[in-house]
Amino acid sequence: MSVASVNELRAVPDESPKEVRHKSYLEEGYSIWSWLFTVDHKRIGVLYLVTVFGFFLVGGIAAGLIRLNLLSPSGAILDNDTYNKVFTAHGVVMLFFFLIPSIPGILGNFFVPIMVGAKDMAFPKLNIASWYVWMIGAAFAVWGLLIGGIDTGWTLYPPYSTRSSSASVLPGALGVFISGFSSIMTGLNIIVTIHKMRAPGMTFGRLPLFIWAMYATSLIQLLGTPVVAMAVLLMIIERATGLGIFDPTMGGDPVLFQHLFWFYSHPAVYIMILPGMGVINEVITCFSRKNIFGYKAVAWSSVGIAVVGFLVWAHHMFVAGISYYAALLFSFLSMLVAVPSAIKMFNWTATLYRGKITFEAPMIFALGFMVLFTVGGLTGLYLATLGTDIHLHDTYFVVAHFHFVMVGGMVVGLLAGIHFYWPKMFGVMYSDFWSRFAAVLIIVGYALTFAPQFYLGLHGMPRRYPNYPPEMRVFNVASTAGYFVQGVGFIMVATYLILSLINGKRAGRNPWKATGIEWATESPPVLHNFEKTPVVVCGPYEYPLNVMQTGEKADVR
């Protein structure tokens, strides 16, 4: 952004008549450089959109290889080493390069400034830097995956990762380390933006709940990520130099790494799920035309999850050799973190009560989120309970649980958000019929993929097995079938979204007749989001009064 163009923009008098059409952010420049050197948060959001879904494709293909291999008890298509590399690629790519940057990177970057009524993020250059750092980290990880693969699992447990693995662990671990800083930058930017950049009248009590969720997420990104960065760095040092930091033969303790790793990686699952929950608030209220039930409870439960989420990490280690007393303590604390999630579920359900409910694609995704997340959340209790965890730990029960939360929760939440905000981001509408159809297909596909894995887990099928006892075949085949059902759903989503960019009909400012201030600006928004700084007069969900946060009628535009 050159100084000249800023001044030009400022030269436009604030009282300019409505008919003057400002250029949207998409029309500010068409060259590749206007995208790569942008500092506009919206364009950065779009950069994330493209790259994040690129990685989703990579991780998804890896998932497909895993599922195909498990068609046969002796491993259908891959040898053991390749399988190990493929599931590691799936884990690393999906977690560090899809789930963690997905909603904060795409919707967070795009909508946090708009939803608080700011012109941009607090630190625009840091914002684009975070994307570049992330891409550098990704380049390292992809390099590692290409030159020999990583076969440690995404958890990188020593001493396997430092001593035994012959694969190219170092570039992969470096990629994780570097991309961590991107996560810190994004989180920092979002927190400062929320604190310092709010429009007049936008008090904390009037923030959209998506912003509250992003605030809680950023808190974890800011305070958790450095710990895993250091843990991975120590692991890298040990592997590269042969010093014994976690190696028991040289005096180290491998369980210490697990402590340091999970101190971040457990809160990290809340980085992945909280933004999804935030999106659901926006969608559920919009399509049932209701205020959110219990605004404060939902807002504080987000922050509660973020803080209490830091207290529970060792429930990943109940059978890993931690002390008896520590296990009791962490199991107790884990029970506490389940409560805020339950509160959210109840509040969303209560929000539907006496609403005027319509079932557009975002709403179907949101309801799907609620159904799938309930399963994921409730099965988590078996893993937080000490006794039951002993049997279920490290089995497919865990796999099914976190896929219900991560995929059924976060990915469906992301899709709900993308579908909800697509008209705002690009100013076009996608196919109504196909989007609803794909939504149902994806949700059913998820359930079909991961529900059989609960059964496998209860019968003790361990994670990360390329082959398994023959009697478990039926359920593995069912799971693979589910993968293809959701795969078809995703291809549909990609198709109609891309088609909508080409020939979708114009969406208008407020296609959903929603009340947040993000719907008061143009679709797609202009360079500085609003023609003039908006003034917020009320909370975000005044659907029954039909009033937007800016005080206008919601169904006029």
Binding site: M197, R198, A199, P200, L223, D253, H259, L311, T533
Partner: protein, 114 residues
């Protein structure tokens, strides 16, 4: 969470005089000397013939005081807003959390040294 009044309405309080909060040079030097003395004391304890393992407590106490001085005076925490204090508190809190909970495991394990 500190609910600040939003900036947009607060033009009346805008403070844009860079020289409004200028440090007192004398005070800076006094802090400097105090911190230096702390380090000297640390060194003396370390070199005294009656050195004990437990001196780590004194060392760390001195370090905490030094860090407190740096933070409070040099990093201007003394005129920081509540949000800054919250940030500092948060960093210390979560760091302490890591220490306490992880040590809670390690100190109660029945196995000894590896």
């Amino acid at each position: 969470m500190v609910d600040h009044s939003t900036h947009g309405n607060s033009h009346g309080h805008v403070e844009d005089n860079p020289a409004a909060h200028v440090d007192n040079v004398g005070q800076l030097f006094i802090i400097y000397i105090l911190i230096a003395i702390g380090t000297v004391i640390s060194l003396f304890i370390n070199m005294s013939p009656s050195w004990k393992q437990s001196s780590v407590v004194i060392h760390l106490a001195i370090s905490v005081i030094q860090a407190g001085l740096v933070g409070y005076f040099w990093m201007h925490l003394r005129r920081a807003d509540p949000l800054t204090w919250l940030t500092v508190g948060g960093a210390i809190f979560f760091s302490a959390l890591q220490f306490i909970l992880t040590l809670g495991d390690i100190l109660t394990r029945h196995t000894g040294a590896y």
